[in-house]
Symmetry: C2
Subunit: 122 residues, 2 copies
DNA sequence: CACTATTGACTACATCTGTAGTTTCATCGA
DNA sequence: TCGATGAAACTACAGATGTAGTCAATAGTG
């Protein structure tokens, strides 16, 4: 459980989270724009994801339709948690502090986040 | 440039960021508590880090002293950026939104972050 | 019906990672 | 001086990852 998804595999997942089900060729077409991988590479990645039961397959004649079995939010939650645990001792505040200090936050970002937090409380 | 640091290597870096320079044995002692790696494993990791020029070595008689060549903040900045780029389209707000929705943020966290943002503006 | 294009299955292979074992060389104590 | 010790260097090796190639079956097309 909580199978690891590699960077390349993640790229495939993003496509499937956006639209599913898709055939291997369709997935390949969509990632080709950004990554330029061959169809074979995409098929390998789909196989590996299916082997990990992160995506499901459904026969459609002689080909397969692939769909995510894991929701994007669930995945993000796990990855974010691991990230924050590993680099910021599990605390989110230091992460935000770090991003802020590293000038990764524009004034607009700050306003947006403040707005968001206000909603959370209200 | 911007050499990749693996999870295990990162563990070593944390030790060196806390105290440096240290000998291989000293590093091994400190990670042993948490990770239980053998001295050889630690030495391998130190070699790999040195090969990547992420840490520097200084001869001290028959042994070496190791020190970070990259600052923790610099490293965190790079890794955080990559993380946010890859998973949240480079925007920090969706990350915070996600953490908030995933209940990763306690009320205290929220207060802390608000405080932090206020300081940033002020 | 024969041929070609498509598709999944299987195979490949270099590199990176985690986790050491083995060898060699220098040094310190008896 | 000589052997035990400790440190670095070199070697190992399985599993994950990135990136395909090849093969075999099948489904349309002329």
């Amino acid at each position: 459980m909580a199978e690891r998804i590699s960077d390349a595999e993640h790229e495939i997942m993003e496509v499937l989270w956006q639209t599913a089900p898709l055939t291997a060729t369709e997935v390949a077409d969509r990632v080709a724009e950004a990554k330029g991988w061959s169809l074979q590479t995409v098929k390998t990645l789909l196989s590996r994801l299916a082997a990990k039961a992160v995506i499901g397959t459904e026969r459609d004649g002689r080909r397969f339709l692939y769909s995510p079995l894991v929701e994007r939010d669930t995945y993000l939650a796990g990855v974010s948690r691991k990230f924050v645990d590993r680099l910021f001792g599990g605390k989110v505040t230091p992460l935000v502090a770090h991003l802020a200090e590293a000038d990764e936050l524009s004034d607009d970002d700050i306003r947006e986040i403040e707005e968001l937090l206000r909603e959370l409380k209200g």
